[in-house]
């Protein structure tokens, strides 16, 4: 049977395409509905095509404020957790010190613990300390749970690094600072970048922990959640689509640059 034969030969491709479709379909729906003009307050059924929402993305009260707050928190949480996490990763791999084993396992706890438990206990802590809930409590909470992801990503990279590379640098007249800047950091950077990206994504879309510790502050995920009860403005789809496109562009550009670098090295 020629059809069966064709099927057998292309099974891997078909499976791949099906998986891709499964992953991308939700994004496509979001994208399509960002061009919808719904009749009621809920953007759940297709009515007609319109670019109204794209022309006025901040047309919904408070939405762009919450978006900018989320981006700020994500940025600072990324910087904080990446700097701390990279240092912890280096310390755990390179040095032997007391409580190293304990720290090694404690650092994974935020990953393993149910988020809602962590959120509740953090709230208890903040309340007992008499802390004002808001930007700072959210930021502290985000840095805390992003840390374990950064440590994991950077640790894997540092562990696979040949310590002789740093010895070679020292042997070639690079002092401690130069060795770190010229050899250690560039080689560890893919791990650090992966950790930073992960931290940004995790912080930006976190809802549970943020919701517990935000007080009266509203981040973008909280805004989406809140509006979903009263009606979903099309602008939410616009923001979602824009973020998806930005992410795709960034990844594609990264790949493109990496490929070009590789090709120029060959030439």
């Amino acid at each position: 049977m020629p059809i069966l034969k064709w099927l057998r030969r292309n099974l891997v491709v078909i499976a791949g395409l099906a998986t891709l479709a499964y992953l991308i379909l939700p994004n496509v729906v979001v994208m399509v509905f960002s061009f919808n003009k719904p009749n009621g307050r809920f953007n759940y059924s297709w009515t007609r095509f319109s670019t109204d929402a794209w022309q006025d993305p901040c047309g919904v009260a408070d939405m762009c404020g919450s978006l900018s707050l989320s981006l700020q928190i994500a940025l600072w949480a990324t910087i904080g957790s990446t700097v701390l996490g990279a240092m912890i990763a280096f310390a755990l791999v390179r040095y032997r010190f007391r409580a190293r084993g304990a720290i090694n396992s404690l650092i994974f706890l935020p990953m393993a613990m149910p988020e809602v438990v962590m959120a509740a206990s953090l709230l208890t802590l903040f309340l007992n300390m008499g802390a004002q809930l808001g930007f700072w409590t959210i930021l502290i909470a985000h840095i805390m749970f992003c840390l374990s992801f950064v440590v994991t990503a950077v640790k894997a990279r540092v562990m696979s690094m040949d310590p002789r590379l740093e010895e070679a640098a020292r042997d070639l007249y690079a002092g401690p600072v130069q060795t770190f800047l010229r050899v250690t950091l560039p080689i560890a950077s893919p791990g650090i970048a992966a950790g930073a990206l992960l931290a940004f994504a995790l912080s930006f879309d976190d809802f549970i922990i943020t919701n517990f510790n935000a007080g009266s502050t509203v981040t973008f995920p909280m805004f989406v959640w809140g509006s979903a009860q009263r009606g979903t403005p099309v602008q939410i789809n616009v923001i979602g689509t824009a973020m998806f496109i930005i992410a795709v562009v960034v990844v594609t550009a990264g790949q493109f640059i990496a490929n070009r670098r590789k090709n120029s090295a060959k030439a």
Binding site: E167, L172, Y173, G175
Partner: protein
């Protein structure tokens, strides 16, 4: 920082290294003359790499002093020593291309125009076409040459090589041995080369220091070490030696006469490194390639005055240029004999009764109070 012209030997005085209760290097006196190709040879764990790293400054000596020329560099960090290292497995910077790897040392010392020097180095190691490749795009041999260029461009007073050829296959290794030797002759810098490969050490070095258990067993020119080993370790580690337990029978002028398994053997008194008195024990050694084999029936044809030991062939293996025989005799079991394959030797098959004979001048004597099999390569070491 690197006045390469200002001469200087490498002098280690009383240098030692201990890790906790383990002594990696026992207090050591060693002088490497300027401009020489010096090899530290020994099995893994003998302290040779630790010694090298102490010269580089990557390891802090427990006791002792490192001198470069007249300057005490013991307390200088590696980046302040006019010494560069070619690391085992090269340690090339994976994120930099060949040019930037080679220029690394110059740039760190604030030299801006590196192009000319890098080009010269690329030419020296014959890698001109690969300047823009990344290390992972190079073969093992090419990586090795980049590592050499990266170190040499700094004109160090001393170049340290830590098993630089260990990762290469046999043929490439031979080629790189000659290449390194050529480069050393060309640049005239002192090379200190650490290796476990005795053939490599003998091919390349002017002077070889054989290390064992954190100590230098013997130091000398390759030929001298090979012909006149002073200990059983050196005798066995450098090539193969037949060591026979013997008893001193008499002193006959300059010669010593010893008995072993009923055979009377002679050796020059000057080649015996142990005190020999009548009735005393001695280890008598002879290299396998110095021995000739004769059939028992042809014993009459052997010239007078040669040392003879009779035995039986237990094994023979043909390896192209030569055939290696293993012979059991009353004097000792498993004696090796290498015969050049000049003529086909009929009848020299396992089981044949033979006579081993050699010129007494090729015999050496060692102190019997040491392990007879020290330095013999075990199967697991060779892997």
């Amino acid at each position: 920082m690197t006045d390469s012209t200002a001469g200087g030997d490498v002098r280690l005085t009383g240098i030692s290294k201990t890790y906790g209760s383990f002594t990696a290097v026992h207090p050591l006196e060693l002088t490497v003359p300027q401009g020489s190709f010096f090899a530290l040879l020994g099995a893994s764990g003998c302290g040779k790499t630790t010694t090298l790293r102490m010269i580089a400054g990557l390891e802090e000596p427990t006791t002792g002093t490192v001198f470069l020329g007249d300057k005490d560099v013991t307390d200088l960090p590696p980046y302040k020593r006019p010494v560069n290292t070619v690391f085992q497995s090269y340690a090339l910077f994976p994120h930099l291309n060949v040019t930037e790897n080679i220029a690394f040392g110059l740039r760190r010392r604030g030299i801006k125009s590196v192009k000319k020097q890098v080009d010269d180095m690329l030419e020296l190691v014959q890698l001109g076409d690969f300047a823009h490749r990344k290390p992972h795009q190079l073969s093992g041999g090419q990586q090795q040459r980049v590592a050499v260029a990266r170190a040499l461009i700094n004109h160090p007073q001393v170049l340290l090589l830590d098993e630089p050829l260990g990762a290469l296959d046999l043929k490439l290794r031979r080629q790189m041995q000659l290449e390194l030797k050529r480069i050393q002759t060309e640049v005239g810098i002192t090379f200190v080369h650490v290796t476990h490969d005795q053939e490599e050490a003998m091919t390349m070095a002017d002077t070889v220091a054989v290390m064992n258990g954190g100590r230098v067993e013997q130091l000398g020119a390759p030929a001298d070490l090979y012909e006149n080993p002073k200990t059983t370790f050196v005798a066995n580690f450098l090539g193969t030696s037949n060591l026979i337990e013997a008893e001193v029978a008499e002193k006959n002028g300059d010669d010593l006469v010893v008995t072993a398994g009923g055979a009377k053997l002679r050796l020059p008194g000057g080649r015996c490194s142990a005190p020999a008195s009548s009735g005393g024990k001695l280890l008598v050694g002879v290299r396998p390639e110095k021995i000739s084999l004769a059939h028992r029936d042809d014993e009459g044809a052997i010239a007078e005055g040669r040392n003879r030991v009779s035995g039986r062939i237990v094994d023979s293996s043909f390896i192209g240029v030569s055939t290696q025989y293993l012979v059991d005799s009353p004097a000792g079991k498993g004696l090796s004999v290498y015969e050049q394959n000049v003529d086909r030797r009929a009848g020299l098959l396992p089981g044949a009764e033979v006579v081993l004979h050699w010129n007494p001048a090729h015999t050496f004597g060692l102190d019997a109070a040491q392990a007879i099999d020290a330095g013999v390569e075990k199967v697991e070491d060779a892997a």
